[in-house]
Subunit: 282 residues, 2 copies
């Protein structure tokens, strides 16, 4: 496995690969790899000749400096995991090589990014879109893999690919969960033991809503209230949002017609956790 930290070297690698005709898959990450990432990497491995994993904690997508500073960084361990999965290139540039001091060009998504995390984290998706486009341009992959846990991010990136005519196919990786159901996240390791136990209620409340829909509940108001009732039982949890949205537009809906998305964001000891799943009429 090749470790590249210079964007120029990465771009030259990509140029050679383009000429060579091999297919390339990119898995963009912020490192501190967990089983969720490894699933994305395996998916990439299945679909391309060459797999590039990027590892970059993108400062501009963090609203709070504290969240950025405390975001886990484990380069040694990430390196070994990538090596073991047969990754060809680990691209880990430093922030000052990625953003010039007078950077002035940004990518903005203005519909799908309005609600959910976009509302709670102003500027977050500008940061995400801009860095993902930069990585796509540097690596020039045929495929790029993103996880369904970051639902809104995934949909916004798919929209960006469509609207900017980016020549890449986006693969969706299923959410991977801990044995108790908590969605894998690099932030989970920052939770105290008590908070970690509480965190499972996010998953449980989603499962509860899924069951209610299967049993005939159609009112979004009723579904959301049931989720909130479960979450507020745990005093460590502060709800950011609980929403049911249209699968395509990500706009809130009032009744479940066929399928919809339930999405949740909470803070647990000031650590932000998100999760989502499809609500489907049986």
């Amino acid at each position: 496995m090749q470790l590249i930290d210079d964007p120029e070297v990465m771009a030259n690698w990509a140029k050679k690969r383009r000429r060579g005709g091999e297919t390339v898959a990119l898995v963009p990450t912020m490192g501190a790899l967990h089983a969720g990432h490894l699933t994305l990497i395996k998916l990439a491995r299945m679909h391309a000749d060459e797999v590039v994993v990027s590892l970059f904690v993108n400062p501009i997508q963090f609203g709070e400096a504290k969240d950025f500073t405390h975001y886990p960084r484990k380069l040694e361990q990430d390196l070994m995991q990538c090596e073991a999965l047969g990754v060809d290139v680990l691209f880990a540039p430093s922030a000052d090589r990625v953003y010039m001091k007078d950077t002035s060009v940004w990518v903005d998504e203005e519909l799908l990014s309005r609600g959910l995390c976009g509302e709670s984290r102003p500027g977050h998706f500008r940061g995400v879109c801009t860095i993902v486009l930069k990585l796509l341009n540097l690596v020039q992959p045929d495929l790029a893999v993103f996880g369904e846990k970051d639902l809104q991010q995934l949909r916004i990136i798919e929209r960006m690919v469509r609207d900017l005519n980016i020549p890449v196919e986006i693969l969706r990786g299923k959410t991977v969960r801990e044995s108790d159901g908590l969605a894998m996240s690099s932030r989970n390791q920052r939770l105290s033991e008590g908070a970690r136990l509480d965190a499972v209620v996010i998953y449980e409340s989603i499962q509860g809503a899924k069951k209610q829909v299967e049993q005939g509940e159609r009112s979004v108001e009723v579904l959301i209230q049931a989720v909130r009732d479960r979450l507020v039982c745990l005093p460590r949890i502060v709800i950011d949002y609980v929403v049911v949205v249209d699968d395509v537009t990500l706009k809130p809906i009032e009744r479940i017609h066929s399928t919809a998305l339930l999405a949740i964001a909470v803070k647990l000891e000031s650590i932000r956790l998100i999760d989502n799943d499809v609500l489907r009429r049986s």
Copy 2:
């Protein structure tokens, strides 16, 4: 020469070319080609195996609906000129194939686009950046050619290429002028006979400023006043701006240290004309 009107066909053409290893140059235009465009096409022809000329009157970069509606369109004539210059592909998509109705992703430049035309035409450079990035993604060229007449556009596109790590080299094409000095523009053909005669004062006033600088004038205030004095003599001309800016940041400066840019925008019978040149200490 191949005429392509479908973005998907264009993208497939680009994909094949990438695999084949030929170099591709793109010349983005809004059609109504004049000698200025032809110079850009010849420059492209000299530097690449395959030349693609795009022809798209981009609705989102026009502030005024009237300017968009009246922008000259001469597909037949453009086609013949491209053919004669050995262009390989003329890419002329329709607007509804380029922009989906629920388009929501845009590219914004936030420093270089603040003054000059960006100030007079809000949203203009968002339109320019977005369409240029889309064209670069569809055509995947090694080189793209832009004219120096649209100075601010050129600099903003160069900045976009840098900040978004777009794998393309930008070539600058010199401004081509009519025999009396008026910078070539598709809009020139909309001028009445009288206005066409007046228009030469734009060039003449720039030449005057260049001479003043050569003769030792360093005060930008003095230079601008001299240009304005010439322009206001002609009652058909309405000045939008006369500015002297730093060559890199495009910010207004007060004194000429080594080189600077003089840029002018006026309306003549409501037709917007721009021009610029370098002021250089001898």
